[in-house]
Amino acid sequence: MQKLYLLVPLAPLFGALIAGLLGRFIGPVWSHRATISLVFVALIASIIIFMDVLDGNVFNGSVYTWLVTGNTTFEIGFLIDQLSATMMVIVSLVSLMVHIYTIGYMKGDPGYQRFFSYISLFTFSMMMLVMSNNFLQLFFGWEAVGLVSYLLIGFWYTRPTAIYANMKAFLVNRVGDFGFLLGIALVLMHFGSLDYATVFAQAPNMANETVELIPGMSWLVITVICILLFIGAMGKSAQFPLHVWLPDSMEGPTPISALIHAATMVTAGIFMVARMSPLFELSDTALSTILVVGGITTLFMALVAVVQNDIKRVVAYSTLSQLGYMTVALGASAYSAAIFHLMTHAFFKAVLFLGAGSVIIAMHHEQNMLKMGGLKKYLPITYWTMFVAAVASAGVPGFSGFFSKDAIIEAVAFVDIPGGGFAYFCVLTTVFVTALYTFRLIFMTFHGEPRMDTHTKEHLHESPWVVTVPLVILAIPTVGAGWFIGPMVFGDYFGDAIHVLPHHDAIEKLGAEFTGIGGMMVHALSTAPFWLSVAGIATAWFLYTVRTDIPGKIKSRCGPIHTLLDRKYYIDELYSWLFARGTRALGTGLWKYGDVKIIDGFFVNGTARVVAWTAMLVRRFQTGYIYHYAFTMIVGIFAILTLWLY
């Protein structure tokens, strides 16, 4: 079994090396055959491991010693439990589907082999992240997925917007990683180890230790550590205010948006906090912070999605909002619900993105929904799979998104730490907004009159099987994954992988009322989220199929609000003015004044000038005329005599 663990990350790495280094020799077809079969190997291995974990075989062990310093041993190793095994299956399944889909989407692209190399490399990195048994390897995977994300957003490197977006994504993530690394440093300092098991075992003893980072202000060590770690999660999982990179990341090819920027990488932050639950549980302050940040992201990003016209951007903002749901669940100590929503979201969001990609191929790379409409009859498979995903996303009972989202909302209602009320308001309101923007997308794209030009219209056709088969395969869990809520959220599926303190245990209280998925669906009919969702769908239907003139009127009536949403609250402008311009101005100032004027101009060249000036002065005495020297001697003798006489 332990060799199988190694196979999971190494098979995709090997695939990435084949496609990346040998791609130009073996050609596109063999590149995709090699990478796809190796990712398939990883999927099979993941499933076998998953089954083994379900039998109760949890593994925690090291592979090799990375470094020994200061009496600390840093190991590379694996922790295979319910949490990591679940993530491994999700990652390899979505990755395999995206690999297959890519054959169709990237057909004929000059960077075809490079693309396969990158997505396999991503799979390797993500596996290293989720399988890690220590903070160091977690950070390695964390940054490695960031690197691949950078490479893939900038995949079409001649586009100015793409190479701006990828740098922005990397740098914003680095701001998060800055906090993350400091958090890891504090863990090492206070626990003397970066090994999860050691740290978690000692955590309860550390619960009351305090530290004064600013003299006079005493904080719990755990709170500081958790908030720093969470800053890392805010970067990777795109939570406000570090969310700005995710919408721009849509500059990358669509399969990437599905794999990295929706289904897997962005959930790394959620996974990380769930993994660290023994630490986060000890700090109510950190949990409150998470609730508030998650709440803001959930609601405010969903509102932006309502006014976007670019099909990928709608889905991107929807991702932000859904990540907000997961974050809120973490803050509510409903870790199992967060991971459950992570799973259902991975499936329905992958379908939405891959479906959007299918639409984009059919539309000859047009992404503006104002130029679409009526695509239903041309793209039936795409339409129905996306429709299912939209229904799941909006939270209609029976579909996967309903179960996971309902569990989160109900759990937040039980929260009694500060921020709980605010978060509850946000997640509840957002149910309406989610249904509205998701069905706005469906109706604008697939229903109504076609608005594209005649040339495009004549060439409309369904995408090839390599595109539609992954859609159909992923649509199955989009419907059914929610039915496992009983064991996964309320049961003891996660075992010891997740740790919740009794007084935080909202899930426990919910579980007491849980009577099976049928009961949950019936119960939902009498609760607010269901009716909000129905209202959202109905509103979208009314505004975008029946009275299509109304949205325009609302837009002109509420000009400032629309502009505010359309400009995404002007956060990009603020950052670019404050950070990008501010840093450049500071850098220029330090250089021109600090280095050039003061150090070089005054001290270095100044010294040279003083030496030259002194030399010139002294040279005056070295005239070479005897009478000058004689005169100087006489003056000297006179002076000495005077001194001596006194």
Binding site: V68, T69, A144, Y157, T158, L171, L181, L213, G587, L590
Partner: protein, 494 residues
């Protein structure tokens, strides 16, 4: 002993003898011969250094491969050599880099080839001498001798402003090291007539002399590292130096300063080092933050990498003065890693400069369209420069940050800003040079790297990845030496 020769002497004198042989080939008619002799010498120089690693006993605390012969008996000066876990990796790094700089100058240098190649070989031997010397006078001779080849390399094969840069380099570093000689003579008298560095380590000293000696050493070493604010010679020297010179300067010569702190300042003046540690840490952090910001705004690629070198070397001095194993070992790893990464970065700029004869970022854009293989290598080194885990650039910075947080959270906080600034200046440059559409007809005419260039970059890439993925063997050889050093520093001499 290797074939009956004492190993360290062989490592020092073999490259110097080959250097003389290269000089002897004379004018440019024999250029090809000069190149091949230089190549053979540099490879042999690396091969004879390998037994240094394989024969090294990482459990021993004493100096190893020791040689000692009287040199100037009247002043009790000895030809005294030996290595420990600090100097051994640095000698290997130097012997590893020498073939690379020789090959890097293969095609580009067309005039005075024998002198160019000879200078590099002699430099290699001299630097080995600096790292291996256990006698202060011998050390000083090698130390000052190392200025001469570099001065010539910049002054003869450099760019348009080479004379200013060469003189600035020479005066800066010479002035810095003069006080070091004064300190040596003082120590000679206090120790009752010994120039042995190990005797200096055991010498009891009061606080005031310790501080004076520390400051004398500081001037010498801080200029070499270089630390803020005596760093301004470096960007000028790099900009004017030929590619090989820049590689050597960044990869090896800066390490002389770092080595000096560990060999002299810390063990000879431990109390002064601890007393002044906060000042040293703050200077180092200024280097990290202030220089990081300046690097962001550079329009010249070489200047940008030069500033980035200063920022990365800030981690070295920061690590030393944390006085814990994470910090000091991290600083050592950072020195080795910086040797590979900065060397590779300067080679990458050299590859571009050889083709378009410009170092200005603005003259490039869209290079990836024409040079995809080069772009891939450059990406790897850029990411290593930005400290990405899995590359050597991460290991040292990680260890130093882990060490810094133990001393003061805010030191770690400021040091960790390199995560943001380091990525910002490196990736912004990369974006403007490599990505985008082909910017101008000159870029359109670029050809991808030759086999020779590929080999150079591939070797460095392997080194960068090896240390990133498996740094264990590198730190393994340092543990005992650094543990002893830390214990020694902890025992007050007062």
């Amino acid at each position: 002993m290797l074939f009956g020769f004492p190993l360290l002497s062989l490592i020092i004198w073999l490259p110097i003898l080959f250097g003389v042989a290269v000089f002897a080939t004379g004018g440019d008619r024999n250029a090809q011969l000069a190149r091949w002799i230089a190549f053979a010498g540099s490879i042999l120089g690396f091969l004879v250094a390998i037994p240094l690693y394989t024969g090294f006993d990482s459990a021993a605390s004493a100096m190893q491969f020791v040689e000692s012969h009287p040199w100037i008996e009247r002043f009790n000066i000895h030809y005294h050599l030996g290595v420990d876990g600090i100097s051994m990796p640095l000698i290997l790094l130097n012997c590893f880099i020498t073939p690379i700089v020789v090959i890097a100058g293969w095609k580009v240098i067309q005039n005075r080839v024998s002198q160019y190649m000879g200078a590099f070989l002699m430099m290699s031997g001299i630097v080995n001498g600096v790292f291996a010397s256990l006698d202060a006078v011998l050390f000083y001779v090698f130390w000052e001798a190392s200025l001469i080849p570099m001065f010539l390399i910049i002054g003869i094969w450099g760019g348009p402003n080479r004379v200013y840069a060469a003189i600035k380099f020479f005066l800066y570093t010479l002035l810095g090291s003069l006080l070091m000689l004064v300190a040596f003579i003082y120590l000679y008298h206090t120790s009752g007539g010994s120039f042995a560095i190990e005797d200096f380590h055991q010498l009891p000293l009061a606080m005031t002399p310790q501080i004076l000696i520390f400051v004398a050493f500081l001037l010498a070493f801080a200029v070499k590292v270089p630390m803020w604010p005596v760093h301004t010679w470096l960007p000028d020297a790099h900009v004017e130096a030929p590619t090989g010179g820049s590689v050597l300067l960044a990869a090896i010569l800066l390490k002389l300063g770092g080595y000096g702190f560990l060999r002299f300042s810390l063990p000879i003046t431990p109390d002064a080092s601890i007393y002044l540690a906060d000042m040293m840490i703050i200077l180092s952090l200024i280097a990290v933050v202030y220089i990081g910001l300046i690097a962001l705004m550079q329009a010249d690629m070489k200047k940008l990498i030069a500033y980035s070198s200063v920022a990365h070397m800030g981690f070295v001095t920061l690590g030393f003065f944390l006085f814990n194993a994470y910090g000091v070992e991290g600083a050592m790893v950072q020195m080795i890693s910086h040797g590979f990464i900065s060397g590779a970065m300067f080679l990458c700029v050299g590859v571009l400069y050889d083709r378009l004869h410009s170092r200005q970022i603005a003259d490039y854009g869209g290079v990836v369209n024409k040079m995809p293989i080069f772009a891939a290598f450059f990406m790897l080194f850029a990411m290593a420069n930005a400290g990405l885990p899995g590359t050597s650039g991460f290991v040292g910075e990680f260890m130093v940050i882990m060490g810094a947080v133990k001393v003061n959270f805010w030191y770690a906080f400021l040091a960790a800003t390199t995560l943001i600034f380091g990525a910002a200046y490196t990736l912004w440059m990369y974006k403007r040079v490599i990505f985008g559409a082909v910017a101008n007809p000159a870029v359109e005419s670029l050809e991808d790297i030759s086999r020779r260039e590929f080999a150079l970059l591939a070797i460095l890439a392997a080194a960068v990845l090896w240390i990133g993925v498996y740094p264990y063997p590198l730190t393994e050889v340092m543990h005992v030496t650094i543990d002893n050093l830390l214990v020694h520093v902890g025992n007050s001499k007062l």
